[in-house]
């Protein structure tokens, strides 16, 4: 089963990392990702640009376009992974490994109902 691992963290905090700290975290995460990729279990991975670049469309009638992320919360959705796991335990293990590489914040683990990989994007 495919699981989405949604990454939540305090954006101000992540934004306070120095370039070196950021690179170090990305490097540690790459180790976990490589392992999953070699096992053929890693789907798309995305790191989102800061929520300041986000726009929200509220589906009212007529729809309203608002600046900023959908929810103003202490922790923001900063990225996601799609990972193939046999069960929730395995998915939690993957999240644990990712969490060890990048402590703080939270991962929301959500089974994927429909997945259309789409074509390659540039």
């Amino acid at each position: 089963m495919l699981y989405a691992i949604l990454c939540y963290h305090d954006e101000d905090f992540v934004g306070s990392w120095t370039k070196e700290q950021d690179a170090a975290v990305m490097k540690k995460l790459a180790v976990v990702q490589d392992k999953l990729a070699k096992q053929g279990r890693l789907g798309p991975v995305a790191r989102l640009l800061p929520t300041t670049s986000a726009t929200t469309l509220r589906k009212e009638e007529p729809p309203v376009v608002l600046d900023g992320p959908y929810a103003e919360t202490k922790e923001q959705l900063l990225g996601f992974y799609l990972v193939d796991c046999n069960n929730l335990d395995e998915a939690v293990d993957v999240a644990r490994d990712l969490g060890a590489a990048n402590p703080g914040g939270a991962y929301e683990i959500r089974p994927v109902g429909l997945f259309q990989p789409g074509g390659p994007v540039k």
Partner: protein
């Protein structure tokens, strides 16, 4: 990341909100800063043992306030020392406090903290130093290094700036819409100054000063997070990102300036460009143009060109025209002339900058640009005069070196002719 690095990052990110709230409580910058310092000391003791609090800023505000109140009591000797019970059971209190820190307070606290640094009587360099000290929390040593002055000189500069700010009336009432927008534009201008201080550095000091650019970007993002729908703040953040994205390509190995046309575009930071383009794109939807957005749009056109030949100079010319209308300045016209030279040729461009000569008679770039136009027109003797003047006015050794390169090229180009003439 090590424990202490984690805590450092948390303290840095919580700082503007925490100091801003403490300033609102105490209405005194020194007390607020001291309270924050004390809270940080407690955090360094408590966080490694008890784990990070859920809301570091709320924790620091709460502890900072309690410790400061303790100190006042202690100095009055009215009550027995209240020790640590005052800050015990923090989890509970943290939650209550977090609830009280409603969005608008939080926004105005940080804006106020930034705004007091923009005190109109403070010279720009003092505004910047003050903001870096109290909002960003850089040490005096770090700031002194970025400004290339001694620590003692910087300490003095910051102390003076603080005294000036303390004398003035810090506005504590919640601002109205008009005041808020005035504060926003003053703060935006100050952030732009911080950036420029880093960006205008020469190749020899660019690396030491680039933290100024990064800090300005962090503050611009922070401001935008607080005021999500302000197109000019989007424009400001976009402008800084798009400019700074080119940092790695702006100087060669010897620290000499590399012009946009000659830069290795593969060195441009694509992630910053992506963020900058996304922000300017977002800002334009508001159809409320302004100087930061226009400048960002110009930077975006450069960023979008994979090769210099692909640059949309016609559009850049139009954008500079728009900028001339909202922010008329001979420097803007000078920049526009560069675009005009690409679209309509150096003759038209030269004609355009001719009227600026008296107002820009001490401006390095004027003579650099003028020399380049004259050189393109083959008017080498006049070009040489302009370049000589530029060198005399250069602000950094990189600027002078760059012009000297042009002069060398002129020499080379004219040498064979002279040799021929001699025969």
């Amino acid at each position: 990341m090590t424990d202490t690095a984690w805590i450092d990052a948390a303290l840095t990110s919580a700082r503007p909100q925490a100091v801003g709230a403490l300033l609102r409580y105490f209405r005194n910058l020194d007390t607020a800063e001291e309270a924050f310092q004390n809270a940080c000391l407690r955090a360094l003791k408590s966080w490694p043992q008890n784990g990070p609090p859920r809301d570091p800023a709320a924790w620091l505000i709460m502890v900072g306030r309690n410790v400061a109140i303790d100190e006042v009591r202690r100095s009055r000797r009215q009550e027995p020392l209240p020790e640590d019970e005052a800050i015990s059971d923090l989890d509970d209190a943290e939650e209550r406090l977090a609830e009280r820190l409603d969005g608008s307070h939080y926004r105005d606290d940080i804006l106020r903290l930034l705004f007091i640094c923009c005190h109109p009587e403070l010279p720009a360099t003092q505004q910047i130093a003050l903001a870096l000290r109290i909002v960003s929390g850089l040490t005096v040593k770090q700031i002194a290094r970025a400004f290339l002055v001694s620590e003692a000189a910087m300490e003095q500069r910051i102390t003076r700036a603080k005294a000036r700010v303390a004398d003035g009336n810090v506005p504590f009432e919640t601002p109205g819409a008009v005041e808020r927008s005035e504060r926003l534009s003053a703060v935006a201008a100050m952030i732009y100054l911080i950036f420029n201080e880093g960006y205008s550095a020469g190749g020899d000091t660019a690396e030491i000063r680039s933290p100024l650019c990064e800090e300005a970007i962090r503050l611009a993002r922070l401001l935008l997070r607080l005021f999500q729908s302000e197109p000019e703040i989007m424009g400001l953040a976009a402008l800084l990102l798009l400019q700074h994205a080119r940092a790695a390509a702006r100087f060669d190995a010897d620290g000499a300036l590399v012009l946009l046309d000659d830069q290795d575009r593969s060195l441009w930071n694509q992630q910053m460009i992506a963020e900058g383009l996304a922000l300017i794109d977002k800002a334009m939807r508001h159809r409320r143009s302004g100087p930061y957005q226009i400048q960002a749009a110009i930077a975006a056109l450069h960023a979008r060109a994979a090769r210099p030949e692909e640059t949309d100079w016609t559009q850049i010319d139009l954008l500079y025209g728009a900028l001339e209308m909202v922010q008329p300045s001979p420097v803007v016209t000078l920049n526009r002339a560069v675009a005009v030279s690409k679209v309509r040729g150096p003759e038209a461009a030269l004609e355009m900058i001719e009227p600026l000569s008296s107002r820009l008679s001490n401006y390095f770039h004027y003579f650099g640009v003028r020399g380049a136009f004259l050189m393109q027109l083959g008017r080498n003797d006049e070009a040489r005069i302009a370049f000589d003047r530029a060198i005399a006015l250069a602000n950094t050794s990189a600027e002078a070196a760059h012009i000297r390169m042009h002069l060398d090229r002129l020499m080379r180009d004219s040498a064979p002719c002279n040799a021929k003439a001699a025969k």
